[in-house]
């Protein structure tokens, strides 16, 4: 065991911070208060991600043959931490580099790789994720969106929900049922659907998380070429599982929470509260949860760095990440008091994004199921 960053990693983080000081606009704090999925942040990522790409950092953890640098998963984790702690200037493009690209590498045809991977690694691709449906949330395999083969096309009908980033996405990583008579895990396929395909309609679902955060996507006889399919027909569930394993700890939420906590402590100091035992206790409690969350996430990266298949460690990390988000965001409201009620206040912005932590990317309950079955060896219900 060794709990230390290499000299190269330390140098990389320093260089990255220097770069960010240059690359972020003076009004970044204002710009980023609406969250990574906002139009403004997506727009900003169009200039920011190509800069990151030119530095060779955007997809440094990808293999050389796909435009990466074969950098260790740790190096990519540092990038993720530094991005999330300041509010994710990559916008939704973090998804592309974390799991869309790697899944295309694993299952894509030479044509799919040649088309998508250079766009992602150049920092100019926008994706959304068509997983959840009105009747298929945590129970993802009950999905009903159908893609029926018609010659060398699929005709898609159905709808997806809670789809973030779809308002500006160019492609959708869409899970469909290609065998109408199939049940559960069978008969599922993944399609990489161009969003300009006719027969796709997008509708916003207003929410308290923020404007343009949730959308519903309707497919009415939307036709895509069969060449859009990623991986085997009807056996796409393995592709989905592969993507999910990368996705579940894709966002370094603990880094954002820990940073907000530091800000809270500074504010408490300015108000003379940092000598109050109860304030110190609450700060210490939240800090401990953030640190546990950080290390459980590092454990997942370590498993990947050792080249081993994803394990239930991912689910442990997700549960801990949600605890950290909750601890810090609730404490933020308590410490700032009614000031935090104004839209765009640092505590409010954090609270707004943190409140989805236990639901987004697989609910806490699903993660707990997986911990119980795979980590504790308890029998399925």
């Amino acid at each position: 065991m060794e709990f230390r960053w290499s000299d190269e990693d330390v140098a990389f983080r320093r260089e990255l911070r220097e770069f960010l000081a240059q690359a972020l606009p003076p009004d970044w704090a204002e710009l980023s208060k609406h969250g990574p999925g906002s139009d403004a942040q997506a727009e900003f990522s169009k200039e920011f991600c190509p800069k990151l790409a030119r530095k060779g950092w955007l997809t440094q953890h990808w293999p050389k043959q796909y435009g990466g640098r074969d950098a260790s998963p740790w190096r990519h984790a540092i990038l993720g931490e530094e991005m999330w702690r300041i509010g994710e200037p990559r916008s939704s493009q973090y998804m592309n580099v974390n799991w869309v690209g790697p899944t295309i590498m694993a299952y894509g045809t030479p044509e799919q790789k040649a088309f998508h991977l250079p766009r992602i690694s150049a920092g100019s691709a926008f994706w959304c994720q068509g997983f959840s449906e009105p009747e298929a949330g945590s129970d993802l395999v009950s999905l009903r969106t159908l893609a029926v083969r018609d010659g060398d096309e699929y005709v898609i009908n159905g709808s997806k929900i809670w789809t973030s980033y779809v308002n500006y996405a160019e492609h959708c990583f869409l899970i469909v049922r290609t065998d109408p008579s199939s049940k559960r895990h069978q008969g599922i396929s993944v399609l990489l659907v161009p969003m300009q395909t006719s027969g796709i309609e997008v509708r916003e679902i207003p929410s308290v998380v923020g404007d343009k955060y949730f959308f519903e996507v309707f497919f009415s006889d939307a036709r895509v070429p069969v060449s859009c399919r990623l991986g085997p027909e009807n056996d796409g569930w393995e592709v989905v599982k592969y993507a999910l394993a990368f996705e579940r700890v894709g966002a370094a939420r603990y880094a954002r929470a820990a940073d907000i906590l530091d800000e809270l402590a500074e504010l408490a100091r300015a108000r003379g509260l940092l000598t109050e035992p109860t304030v110190l206790e609450k700060l210490g409690e939240a800090r401990a949860i953030c640190e546990a969350s950080r290390l459980l996430t590092y454990r997942v990266i370590d498993v990947r760095a050792h080249g081993r298949p994803p394990s239930a460690d991912t689910n442990l990390a997700r549960v801990a990440g949600t605890l950290a988000e909750r601890a810090v965001s609730e404490l933020a409201l308590e410490i700032f008091g009614p000031e935090a009620l104004e839209y765009g206040h640092v505590a409010e912005s954090h609270f707004r994004l943190a409140m989805t932590a236990g639901v987004a990317v697989g609910t806490t309950e699903i993660n707990l199921n997986l911990v119980a079955n795979r980590f504790l060896g308890l029998p399925r219900e």
Binding site: A265, L274, G284, A288, L295, Y298, D302, A305
Partner: protein, 309 residues
Amino acid sequence: MDFEPNADQQAILEAVGALLAQHAGAKRAIELNRSADYDRELDAALDAAGFQGVALADGTGLLEAALVVEAVAKAGGVVGIGASALVAPGLTGRALPGPIALARDGDTGPVRFAAHARTLLVDSGEEARQLTLAAGDFSPVTSNFMLPMGRIRTPQGRGESLGRGSGERLRSLWRLALAAETVGTMAACLEVTLEYVKRRRQFGRAIGSFQAVQHRLAQCAVLVEGSRWLVYEAAWQDAPAEASATAAAFAAAAASSLFAETHQFTGAMGFTREHDLHVWSMRLQALRLEAGGVAGHRRAAAEKRWCRK
């Protein structure tokens, strides 16, 4: 970064595991508890095999000591391994005559192992003090918390000062050792509870197949694993004040949950002396209160992070 135990660490874990299988375990702990006794045999066996001095050996340090402390706690060993293998070597750079007890100046309540200790390390704020205990320095205490305890009668200020700043170092090492013991003890609680819920059947099925049970035990696993990595990182970094307090803060809070949940799911059986859970669960409460307890650890973690001058 590397979270995998290296060859040395694996060898240590295997060797200490084999020793503990022979000398420790729930049965032995229950037997010793009848007479509130300390396990001198286990202490001697750990010493003879070099585990007490692992922190001082070439190429190993506090992380290896923490691994040993955790393993001994998980095996239910009734020895002051945290103090002897981790705290004393970390504080003084040498082994001290054991058993060793740890106390804070002004502690009036029962202290773990004080009735059997030869050496007492005292946190007196700015400095740590070391003194040799004699027969009249303590009185034994009856306790239901599965560890032998004593009440110290020694007047404050006695003993040899270990120098300015040694108080802070003692507190850090103590917190780290405590967190390592808590991890081993929690892991054992969880393990015996998992065995129980897989075997115990109600409504025609194993109670461990109910989601209401699974989720709460899965949450326990998150707490145990989180505590574990906090301990390993702090130990690898040689017990810095902030990281040690953070590990102790998380582990002490986790201990409350582990006690409540493992007793909940072992039902009335878990309260009996027939079932092994109490060997570890009762200790969790004792560990949780030591060295200032969860509130003290949390304040220390916050002070070290944000209140440095």
